[in-house]
């Protein structure tokens, strides 16, 4: 079951990179960046998951050697990563809107006034 998670996250990251490289519509490029983020988030969660572990919520006296729970750190990292991803997407979309107003197109091959 965990193998499926890893295959899925690699697939998502590669799909995202493929989208960014191949798609000429800058809106789709932003979607590609989002897909990379989701892939990385699934990877983080999968790394922290122990099959059969409980939720990592304990009071000080409750934790004993042999208590089996999932790793809480990756979950905290994922939350941070999701928030950052949402911010990046929001900013990318606002730039896309501005570019569309200015250039009148979403085609990345036409948005190349800075070159050479």
């Amino acid at each position: 079951m965990m193998l499926l998670n890893y295959i899925c996250c690699v697939f998502l990251i590669v799909l995202g990179l493929y989208t960014v490289i191949v798609k000429k519509n800058i809106l789709k490029i932003v979607i590609g960046l989002g897909i990379i983020d989701y892939g990385v988030n699934i990877l983080i969660i999968s790394i922290g998951y122990n099959p059969g572990g409980t939720a990592p919520i304990f009071t000080p006296g409750e934790i004993k050697p042999g208590t089996f729970f999932v790793d809480p750190i990756p979950q905290a990292l994922t939350l941070t990563s999701i928030v950052i991803g949402a911010c990046v997407t929001a900013m990318a979309l606002s730039i896309v809107i501005k570019i569309y107003k200015k250039y009148g197109t979403l085609d990345s091959t036409k948005i190349r006034r800075l070159n050479g």
């Binding site: 990251i13 990179l17 960014v20 490289i21 191949v22 798609k23 000429k24 800058i26 490029i29 960046l33 990379i36 983020d37 990385v40 990877l43 983080i44 790394i47 750190i73 990756p74 990292l77 941070t80 990563s81 950052i84 911010c87 990046v88 900013m91 990318a92 730039i95 896309v96 501005k98 570019i99 200015k102 250039y103 990345s108 091959t109 948005i111 190349r112 006034r113 800075l114 070159n115 050479g116």
Partner: protein
């Protein structure tokens, strides 16, 4: 007492970025006071740390929330300042202070300035946090804040054409880099179950497996994108050109230094792979390509700021080459050049900003003769141009001389001809840098003054003060290399080459010795031993290379079709200096000083001009390509 200084410096900048938007949105004076106070405090705090860290050799650690390690496992987020971190922190805080000072007047013609300062202070805080942190995930967070703020700053003047486009490209490539960094961090965590850099560094010495090697490739890609080395450099050129000049200075002065810092930290301390000759070859190759491609692209430019941006890339190539040598001398040269790069490149960007402020354009084909109108800016520009080209007694000479020596020393040690070739390329690039700056000074400050600029005035005093401060620092670091080496560079080099103390201070005494099989002794190289101060032989070398380049440039003269007819000579097309086609027919402008050189190498210049296509997909592809190269490299040589 002093262990609180690093965290206070970071907090000050982040806190001020919120205060600016709360209290400074209406009142210009309040905004200015908050910005200046917030940018001065970190500088003062970092200067206070010079004595304990640089001179007494302490390493300061600070656990946020006092979560100290339990049973040899780091559980909290740690801040750790060794001499390397402090060296970069000094560069960063100085840049922040001068850039903030300059922006007070420079940005005064823009509106919604509180947003500029929010982003600027956030960028500063993130960069400072990045170089001071001891936690790998915290480092990723700082990279993300940094990218976010830098992209928004690039797009700040979004009424113009370039900024939006440049910001979008930066965002796409930067996000790919950040995502790869995060993947690398989490893969290391999956193997070692810690995020503390000191602990990772110690534990990785037990041997690498395929996951940690893959993480190495991911992290190296992430930092390469932050340092804007080839092939992800076009993003930097766009961003530096499009951002407001005070932000360009911050980007060129400190943001790409975070990439350099990351590469040093990663290669020398976390993975300690710098002893392998394969890694040295890889990093030196990339650095050499970066410095050569950067300078040849700069020769091709018609915009002052874009030209400076490509020079900035080229100079980072020098730094990467030097640190890739893996020797104490190479590191000395690399760190010295990193500091000098911040000083002279920041200064040159400020000059470009002054020209833009006064004349309203940075187009090299339109400007001319501004030396009469802006004498001080011209003087500062010349100091910067001499520094970047490595002319004695300015600071660029010292560091470039160290780099030539380091590459040559490496060549004689290993018997590898490639390193000697690197020395030659480094000198040639230096000559081309000088050539390029002769062209800029000819087209901006000397020559004929166009009528439209007859009313141009000198830049205001508050813009000239930061420029003069940097100019004086350029000269001081050029004439007092022994002192700079003694108090700044040598502690940093020692910190890089002997990471035992870094690990022990963080994790408790004796921790590093448990893992490290052999403890490297810190090298103690004196300046005299490096034998660096020999201007005569350098001058001889410079003259030889200059002659060689001249011969190369003149070789194809016959092919140019110089006609014996005097009618065609007066045409101006074939005149010695001011020759060439009109702009609309050719990439090489008619006013170009180096028309002949460019004509001879037109296929090369055309080729590199065309591959910088400006299409975001291409730039993303290049980022993925370098990632692929690193993966293949890591699995072949490191596993």
């Amino acid at each position: 007492m002093i262990q609180h200084f690093p965290v206070l410096a970071i907090m000050t900048l982040f806190l001020a970025s919120f205060l600016v938007v709360l209290f400074g949105s209406r009142n210009k004076i309040v905004r200015g006071i908050i910005t200046m106070v917030a940018s001065t405090i970190p500088l003062v705090l970092m200067i206070c740390l010079i004595k304990p860290i640089m001179i007494e050799g302490q390493v300061i650690s600070y656990w946020l929330g006092n979560w100290e390690p339990v049973n040899g496992w780091a559980i909290g987020i740690g801040i750790e300042v060794d001499a390397l971190s402090l060296f970069f922190a000094l560069i960063v805080t100085l840049t922040v202070f001068l850039s903030a000072f300059y922006s007070l007047k420079y940005m005064s013609r823009d509106d919604t300035l509180e947003k500029y300062y929010v982003l600027f202070l956030m960028l500063s805080g993130a960069v400072l946090g990045l170089v001071l942190t001891g936690d790998l995930f915290n480092l990723f967070i700082m990279i993300e804040i940094l990218t976010f703020a830098a992209v928004a700053l690039t797009a700040f003047r979004n009424n113009e054409d370039g900024p939006l486009e440049a910001a979008f490209k930066y965002l796409v490539v930067g996000s790919i880099g950040s995502s790869l960094t995060l993947t690398g961090v989490i893969l290391l965590y999956s193997q070692l179950h810690t995020l503390n850099m000191a602990q990772i560094s110690a534990m990785l010495q037990n041997g690498q497996n395929s996951t940690t090697v893959f993480a190495f490739a991911l992290l190296l890609t992430g930092f390469s994108i932050k340092a804007f080395i080839v092939p992800v450099h076009p993003v930097a050129a766009d961003a530096y050109t499009a951002a407001p000049t005070s932000a360009s200075m911050a980007l060129a002065g400190m943001v790409n230094k975070t990439g350099v810092y990351g590469i040093i930290r990663l290669l020398y301390i976390i993975f300690m792979t710098m002893g392998l000759s394969s890694v040295q070859n890889l990093i030196v190759t990339i650095g050499t390509v970066t410095m050569f491609l950067g300078v040849t692209m700069a020769l091709n430019q018609h915009d002052f700021k874009r030209l400076l941006a490509f020079h900035s890339i080229s100079q980072i190539g020098y730094v990467i080459t030097a640190i890739g040598l893996g020797t104490a001398l190479g590191l000395t040269g690399g760190l010295y050049h990193a500091m000098n790069h911040t000083l002279f490149k920041g200064m040159l960007f400020l000059c470009a900003g002054a020209v833009l402020y006064s004349a309203g354009t940075t187009n090299l084909d339109r400007l001319g003769g501004l030396a009469k109108k802006m004498p001080q800016t011209c003087a500062i520009f010349l100091i910067g141009a001499f520094s970047i080209s490595g002319i004695p007694p300015f600071n660029g000479f010292v560091s470039k001389w160290l780099i030539y020596q380091a590459t040559y020393e490496r060549a004689s040690q290993t018997g590898n001809f490639g390193f000697a070739l690197v020395t030659v390329i480094a000198v040639v690039v230096s000559v081309m840098t000088l050539a390029s700056f002769i062209k800029v000074s000819q087209s901006v400050f000397f020559g004929e003054l166009p009528a439209e600029f007859s009313n141009v005035k000198e830049a205001p005093v508050s813009m000239r003060i930061p420029m003069w401060i940097m100019a004086i620092l350029c000269i001081l670091t050029g004439v007092l290399p022994a002192q700079v080496y003694q108090y700044l560079i040598r502690p940093a080099v020692n910190a890089v080459l002997s990471p035992v103390k870094y690990i022990n201070v963080m994790m408790g005494n004796g921790y590093a010795e448990k893992f490290l099989s052999k403890v490297q002794a810190a090298p103690d190289k004196s300046v005299a031993l490096a034998g660096y101060w020999q201007p005569e032989s350098w001058l001889l070398l410079f003259v030889i290379v200059l002659a060689a380049v001249t011969v190369a440039a003149l070789l194809g003269k016959k092919d140019r079709g110089v006609s014996s007819s005097s009618a065609e000579v007066t045409d101006g097309k074939y005149a010695t200096f001011y020759s060439g086609e009109k702009n609309e027919f050719s990439r090489v402008g008619g006013s170009d000083l180096f028309w002949g050189l460019k004509y001879n190498l037109r296929h090369y210049f055309g080729f590199i001009g065309n591959i910088h296509s400006g299409v975001v997909n291409d730039y993303a592809l290049w980022a993925v390509m370098i990632f692929a190269v690193y993966i293949v490299f890591a699995f072949i040589f490191l596993l």
